[in-house]
Structure formats: structure tokens, C-alpha cells
Amino acid sequence: MLNLGYCKGSMSTASSGGVSDQFPAGLRVLVVDDDPTCLVILEKMLRICLYEVTKCNRAEIALSLLRENRNGYDIVISDVHMPDMDGFKLLELIGLEMDLPVIMMSADDGKNVVMKGVTHGACDYLIKPIRIEALKNIWQHVVRKRKNEYLEQSGSVEEGGDRLQKQSEDADYSSSANEGSWKNSKRRKDEEEEVDERDDTSTLKKPRVVWSVELHQQFVAAVNQLGIDKAVPKKILELMNVPGLTRENVASHLQKYRLYLRRLSGVSQHQSGMGNSFISTQEATYGSLSSLNGLDLQTLAAASQIPAQSLATLQAAGLGRSTAKPRMPMPIVDQRNLFSFENPKLRFGEGQQQHLNNGKQINLLHGIPTTMEPKQLANMHHSAQSLGSMNMQLNAHGDPSGSLLMQMSQQQSRGQILNEATSSQVPRLPSSIGQPIVNNALASGVLARNGLAESGRGTGFNPVSQSSSTMNFPLNTTAELTATSFALGSAPGVPSLTSKGVFPEDINSEIKGPGGFIMPSYDIFSDLQHHRSHEWELQNAGMTFNGSQQSNSLQSNVDVASSVLAHQGFSSSQSNGQGRNISAVGKPMFSAGDATDHVNAQSLGQPLNNFFAENLVRVKTERVPDASLQTTLFNEQFGQEDLMSALLKQQQQQQAGIGPAENEFDFDGYSLDNIPV
């Protein structure tokens, strides 16, 4: 039958797509629809119309096809509701990048949806079921667009304007007429001298100026140089200094760009995610978003189909970032640390607690709409960046999961970020931990899945997802891992212990430190941020956590957490140290004695204990995962949220010496002594 799994190309050799005598026959149409039945029917209908049809069942594929061969298609028909990408998003992207006419279609004929099509720039909207008659006339949109382009290229504004008017009139005429009128309209065009020339000249064959990434970048650079308000086509053209480019080309592109910007800035909640590639190209020039952030996020979002909300959040964050800096007093952490994703969340500092409580937590709640303040978002962005780099680092270590993150973190400056990350290793659980962390975890999980930088945290973790028992966090990357402390990092190591319930006995035995002193580790971490000891701590934390034989629950929790995390693809690098431990389920994870191992549980344990001892006091209102979580954890199939909260709870509990679950949020500080060992 029809091969629906991929795009089938049925293009003829005519790649130039120029107007031929048989026009509209040979019109190159790209059809995108996730419904296989419709796709097949449309293809058949279009073939009967003598068009060249390429069909696609995924927007991503369509985009890549278009990008590979910008001049290979004349028109795109796309469904509105598609699982991998919103049809309108695709519409915008195509309009911006390739400037092709796009027809939307849907079984949905609601006015709002149709209006959306209009505002997003669709040149037509067809209601399903589509009849062949509707398809017979789609060529008009191609003609219309080309005519307008000719006009643009024709010369002065005035002339263009007049001609434009005439052309549009002609175009209207031709569009309302039926297919046979093509020749008529062509003749009308002939009457227009310039148009006639255009028909014969190469412009006809190249009706569009292809706004390539480079060209667009130049454009954006010019616009930003002039200032968006002062950017007029003439000046932009001068600045760009691209031979062959006309003022009209610039003018029309500018119009689109303005629309795009307007939409972007007006949409902080509803992120259409348009022009991801667009954004990436203009990152440098993108006004409000810190280039990196915007870029990363956008790219990531695009790549990972980040939920609109997340994207919006990120964008907002990016926006906020440019203007605000997190002001959380983080004595222990560098200012920079604030930016690292992990930092905000996991900070347990006295003073910070407050702040954390107030706002920071969000960090991890990437995918979850939270009341994140811009700066926090900025932090996130930054973190994301860090994560990105971290991911890269992790990847370097051969962390499979890292690859996911890799995609995202292209721009990170590894070194710096790493440092920051490491310093921020201390998993800082925001005071309001329980939920936020969970969210974070979830978000991270989501992100991770989406390949978001955030989830980048879990780069180390990713592998877990792939195989529940792969806790192969390269130990070397502990630093990175720790850095990318997943907010959930609170359960560092826990997640890493993916193997459900498969905790080698050894691991448990490894645990040196006080059992379940996850929390303490956090505190300590915050203090230690500057040292690599953070890593240790984290590792230890993980280790202890994992290995904490303390209670079955703990282990189970970890197991559960791990499995959940693994399942969710939490690349919780949090398991920084843990990753190591977790590596290879079934393997003694924390071979404390395993000196070679990156994680020396034992050795770490000692210093860690010390740390804990020192820092326990500091823990005040830190949110500690509720130890009580232990019990709650593994009885059922947890949803991400459940698991994470459970984990968090558990940690808290441990810290609190297994206090009641409610402690999680009111945890008042605990001492190691309290922690049940």
C-alpha cells in the first residue's frame, strides 16, 4: 500500500519548479498529516490534479525535507492537529524560513481555529473531508505569492505599489476563476511589462529569495543594529550589503519578522514556539532573551518539543534574565551558581531558605508552570546552559543519556559551567521542597525526555531510563553529574539506582555515613559548594541513599525512585556521585572500598560525615525530602510525581530521623543524630 511511515517523494526531475506550460500541472506539493487515511486520500487526489506529491506524516520530517530542499516545493498542505508539532507552529516556521504558501486543513471548522490559521499566515484553510475540487485550485496561492514577490523585486515602492494593486487584482481574478484561467492570468501578467519580463527572466524561475539561516542572521543583525524601531528596509538593506537582495525582499521579510516578534513578546504564557530555528539564528540579536538562553531553550524546545508552557517559561526566564539577576543571597554559592539550574533548587542555606522558599524552587519545575520569577527562570536558563555544557561533558564520558542533553547544550562553555555546576552541586532543595522538587524531577524528567537542557541534569541519568539497570554514570563525571544536580538531586543516587529493588548488597554495606543522610548532604553541599567535595557529598548522598540499608524502604525508595527515574528518563545527573554507584545494576554500586571507583563511599563517607556534622546545624528550614516518603514510595506504581515526592519525602524523613511525612515542608532542621541509621 502506501508507505505512510515516511515521506514518500514523488517528485519529478523538475526541481526548479518554474512555471511551465502545463502549470498548474507539476506543482510540487508537500502534504503533512498524521492521519494515514487522509494522507493517502489527499495524495491520490493531488496526483489526479497532476501535482507532484510528497507526503509526510510528521511535521519534523516535513521541516527537514523543506530545509534540505528549499526550492523543491511550491506549496505545503498541513493538518492542524498533529501529535509531534502543532500545525500552526509548522505554519509559522515554514513561512519564516522558506516563505512557502501553506494551506491548513482540519476536521475542525470552528471559527477560532480558522482564525488562527489566518493570523498565523495560512494562505487557505480547508475543512475535512477534503474534496478534490478544493485541491484543484491550490495553485492560485502559489501564483499569488509569486506575483507579489515579483512586485517586490520590481523596483521602487511606488511602482511596486501600483503594480501590486494591479497584480493583486489580477491575482484575485485568477484565483476566483477556475483552473482554466491560468492562461488568462498569465496573459494579464503579460500585459504588465515588468511582470512579463519577470515571467521570462530568471526571476520567474526563482520567485523567492531564500532566506537562509545566514541571510536571516545578517538581517537580524542589521535590524538589531538599527534598533527594531528604526529598522527600515532601506537601511537594513544597506547594512546587510547582500548583492542581489532588493529593498522589497527585505521589506517583506521585515514584515514577517515584526509579526513574529510581536507574537513572541506578547506570548509569555502561550509560547507558540515559532521559529525555533529562527530563534537560534538570531540568538545573538534577540533582544530580550539572553542569546544563549533563548537559543538553547528554543532549540531545545524545538528539538524536544518542549511543552509550550515550558518554553514560555523559559522564554520568560530568558527575558527576565536579561534584566534581572537572581538576588538570592547565597553566601555559599557564587553568584554564578545561582544560575546553575541546580543551585536554586537545592540551596539550603540559612538565609537562603527563605529565598528558596519564596521562589527559587522552581528551578526544576521546568515543564511545570510555576510562579517562577524571571530571575529564577534566568537561573534556569543559565542552569540549562550549564546543563548543556554538562551534558556535553557527560557525553564525553560516554554517557549515553548525555547525548540527549548534548543536543541541547551546544553553546555552553563547558569549563565555566562545570565549575559552576560543581559548586552548585549541593543539591539544594528549596524549602518548599517536596513539591517543587518533585516537580522538578518531573520537569526534569519531562525535560529529559524532551531532551531539554534541564533534564540535562540528568544527563548522567539518562542511561538509566534506557535501561533501568544502567546506572553507568561515568564516575569521572561526578563533577559534572553533581553539577547537574537534578533538583531531585535530593534523591541523588536514588534515581540512579534504577534497578528496581536491585540493590546489591554491597551497596548497602558501602554506606558509611549515617544512613539516609540525604538531607545532611544537602546542607553540606550548600556549604561545600565550592569544593569538589560537593561531588563527594553528592555521591555520598547518593551512596548513602542507595546503600542505605537503613530501611528497606529507603532502598525501595531508591529502587522505586530509580526505576521511576529511570523510567522517566530522569537523567538525574543528580546521581552525580550516584551515577557511579548505580552503574550496572547488580554490581556493587557503592563499593566503598572501590577506590578506583569514582565514588569512594568510604573515603567520602568520612569527610561527608564531617560535613554533615558541621552543617547539620545549618539546616534549618531546608526542605528535606520527607523521610516518610520511604514508606509511601514503593507500594505502587508511582507516577513521576508520586515517586519524586516520595523520594523527597524519604530524604526528608531520613534527615529528620524519619519523621512524619508532613515534615517535608516543615522540616526544621535536623541533626545527623536524628537520622536513623
Binding site: 487515511t37 486520500i41 476536521a107
Partner: protein, 154 residues
């Protein structure tokens, strides 16, 4: 049965399907798309529709069986089903989907479950009828005859 008889049977059967609302004009469109170069077009599309629908219905059933029903998902599936059934011309199924979506919007579990039953029922009905129709077509062609599409317009 000789070809002529089969052809007449085919015409009658098809007309009844339209009359009873199982199929609508869109199905005719599909039939028009079929030609010598593509003699199995309708059969192919229909079988594709069946495959897709089975999957959709299974997904729908699954989602509606959950403790916490994700109505957005339900709506997405129903919308998809509406699109494909309308493209095939399975009118009753399409109408069932429209009603289904309304209940989704209201987040009316009872209503949704009832709609699911209804849409399944109508789907299986139209499925068996289409299968019978196509079988008949194949028999006609095998016997050397052609499908008298033009008879339908009379």
C-alpha cells in the same frame, strides 16, 4: 452469479448504504478516484482506515478506562477519528464522533462512555458493510466485469 447480476447487486447495495447513512458523498469521491491505473484504491484506503481505526478505538478505550480520564487525550483521539472517518465517508461514525467531542468538552464521563459504545457499534457496522461491498467488487472484477460507478449517480 453472473457478472450482470453481481453488478446490479453492487449498485443496489451501495445505494442502500448511502440511503441508510452509513456512507456519504465523500465515499463517492473516493470511488471516483479509483481508475484503471489504481483499481484497488478504494479497497486500500478502506483497509488503511480499518487499521487506523482499530488503533484509535483501542487507545480511546484505554484512556477512558483510567481512573483519571485525560479528556484532552480523549478529545484528540476522537478528533482524529472524526477526521479519518469523514475522509472515508463513514458518515455515522463521523456523526458519533461529533457528539463524542461534545461530551469530552463537558468532561462528561458517562456521556463519553456511551459515545464510545455508540461509535464502536457504528464503526463495526460500517466495517462489515464495506468489507462486503469490496468483496463484491472483487468478485465482479474477477469475473471480468467492471464496477458500474456511473450507475450510482442515476
Amino acid at each position: 452469479m453472473e457478472v450482470g447480476q453481481m453488478q446490479r447487486a453492487w449498485v443496489e447495495y451501495t445505494r442502500s448504504l448511502f440511503r441508510e447513512g452509513f456512507l456519504d458523498a465523500q465515499f463517492q469521491q473516493l470511488q471516483l478516484l479509483q481508475d484503471e491505473s489504481n483499481p484497488d484504491f478504494v479497497a486500500e484506503v478502506v483497509s488503511l482506515f480499518f487499521e487506523d481505526s482499530e488503533r484509535l478505538l483501542a487507545d480511546l478505550t484505554f484512556v477512558l478506562e483510567q481512573q483519571n480520564i485525560d479528556f484532552k487525550k480523549v478529545d484528540a483521539h476522537v478528533h482524529q477519528f472524526k477526521g479519518s472517518s469523514s475522509s472515508i465517508g463513514a458518515q455515522r461514525v463521523k456523526n458519533d464522533c461529533i457528539a463524542f467531542r461534545n461530551f469530552c468538552e463537558e468532561q462528561n464521563i458517562e456521556g463519553c462512555l456511551r459515545c464510545l459504545q455508540q461509535v464502536k457499534q457504528d464503526y463495526y457496522l460500517v466495517k462489515s458493510k464495506l468489507e462486503a461491498l469490496i468483496r463484491l467488487e472483487q468478485q465482479i472484477v474477477a469475473a471480468g466485469g467492471s464496477i458500474p460507478m456511473e450507475e450510482l449517480s442515476s
